[in-house]
Amino acid sequence: MASKPRVRVPKKAKAGEIITIKSLISHKMETGQRKDKKSGEKIPRKIINKFVCTFNGKVVFSADWHPAVSANPYMSFSYKVMESGEFEFTWTDDDGKTVSKKAKIMVS
């Protein structure tokens, strides 16, 4: 289960500046390869398979994740800010559930 989404976005930036955005969420990212130590049965896969970042409603960055992405997935990337607005970050689990987080930026 995904919990505690965290993002780091600068509060202010100049128009045309390239900022770095960092994101982190708590999730086991169960690979589907591990076996239960008692029963010996495989633990079913359960990961966050999609991460999307939008700015003012438009997708500006996204990622498809496979089981090889570490637990508590971290992602950092860049964005060239031209105007003030709001980022929305969405993580989608294998079971379809999503977790979102918003962050605002002021452009001078």
Binding site: I18, K58, A63, A68, Y74, M75, F77
Partner: protein
Amino acid sequence: MMKPEISRRSALELIGGGVVTALLAGTFADVAKADAKMLAEAIKKAVGDGAMKEGKITLDLPEIAENGNTVPVGFSVESPMTEADYVKTVHLFAEKNPAADVASIHFTPASGVAKAALRIRMAGTQNVVAVAEMSDGTLYTAKKLVKVTIGGCGG
């Protein structure tokens, strides 16, 4: 005159050793071939079978990763990142993991630079391969070997 003496036992040992070595070498070659095939299939599935050029991609990976459960991966791709010419997607692969696919990172011209970082699992010492898909469809590739002390899959 004494002949150099090879007893029956030592002769058998020599032959037996040779056979075992040959078998082992064969098995390792098969494993390497299977990994290469899995990697080639994963790349084909992601980007098709177009020609790939080397270059443009800089991979930032540790030479030695102590813990295969979380290996930091950073990369950047040279590109003006304009509407006409930008990096669409960077696919990451690890050839010796149970599945070669690691992640596909999608950029837009709004990204400013095609640069990202994440943390990945690695089952053992192996190459990390990146394939960059440009907006005009051209493909670039780069790889880097990472030595992994403790594997990070299954267990």
